[in-house]
Symmetry: C2
Subunit: 181 residues, 2 copies
DNA sequence: GGGCACATGTAAGCTGTTACATGATTAA
DNA sequence: TTAATCATGTAACAGCTTACATGTGCCC
């Protein structure tokens, strides 16, 4: 939230939208905690509220103390997320799930990756077109590139995995079954 | 846990180790919940306990009902994990963090990816050498392949990101500074 | 006038982590 | 005999999700 407000002043609602739409590919926040967190950050003097006292909407912006705090927090060590990849779990126990269902899961994953490649291309174009964020753009593009590399890897893996599953004889629907007479 | 016990009977401690060592690249479990969960699964008749009543260690194995339940659970839709990538968050706000620190983070990520490539190669060799798990091996190798593709993508991305950061002029230590006289 | 997007919040409850506590067995 | 590993648990706490509750302003 401090990061979002470091780019531009936002309302709570806009913070929520920004995190979902802009950071969504690598970060998520519990929206039920945004307003409590805004209140806390305001009480700590890290963000300031402008406009609409109790009547309408208020816009929050980073104070100098808030910017300092953001830099501190960004400098802290990265805490790796505990992995929880349900797709891989299902494939690992694929013998119990069956080759057909595994195949479906892999196809879906490949399709999702291809779709996200298109999204990343659009985001890349959008960032390149925004002159007002020229100083941030190189960093933003690095994260977009990470998404693209990851999605490309997923596409390549899905193709390879489908070939492996077909070799197992699991593709009952439509696949070539060379070993049958 | 049902999946782990579907491959071989294990003690609670071994379940914990198996999840950490074998599934660790794509799954994690809260170990504080393993024993309560084992007790619950036993009460539901999904797993059976052999040996050591109250004295020593007991080994759990899957009952037919447990195998059925495992297949049901594997067939449920994949719940995507909420993304929380601290590395990408720091790079996105890299302007506040500074190019030097960003560079360090990217180098670390690339090194981790290279190290995991070596690990995956070892795992691949190990799976290929285990004749008793021949029926599971193709599925296990698909998940190993996913890890390899992902790590290779990370390595390629890191190189690209470092080049982008150097172009920004952030590499004060040792990098070529062509624009200087 | 109705529906939708904008806007702000609260609270119950679930999940998961962390730290603690204990004891047996095995290897140096 | 001392340390490490194997083994089994408990409990407090932190964090997050979900559902609920309410109201405004704008467009069709």
């Amino acid at each position: 939230m401090l990061g979002a407000l470091s780019v531009a002043p936002l309302t709570g609602y806009q913070v929520r939208e920004t995190i979902r739409d802009v950071l969504g590919h690598f970060w998520s926040e519990s929206f039920g905690q945004i307003y409590p967190a805004l209140a806390r950050l305001e009480a700590e003097g890290l963000i300031g509220r402008e406009g609409g006292d109790r009547t309408g909407s208020s816009t929050f912006s980073l104070t100098p103390a808030g910017l300092e705090r953001l830099r501190e927090r960004l400098g802290e060590p990265v805490v790796p997320q505990a992995p929880r990849n349900g797709l891989m779990l299902r494939l690992f126990f694929g013998r119990q799930l069956g080759p057909e269902r595994c195949r479906e899961l892999v196809v879906e994953a490949g399709d999702r990756a291809r779709a996200s490649l298109a999204t990343f291309a659009a985001i890349r174009a959008e960032i390149a077109g925004e002159a007002e964020h020229a100083a941030d753009a190189p960093y933003w593009l690095i994260t977009v590139s990470a998404g693209e590399h990851s999605a490309q890897a997923m596409v390549a893996w899905a193709d390879e995995a489908l070939a492996a599953l077909d070799a197992l004889g699991g593709s009952a629907r439509g696949g070539p079954r060379r070993w049958e007479r």
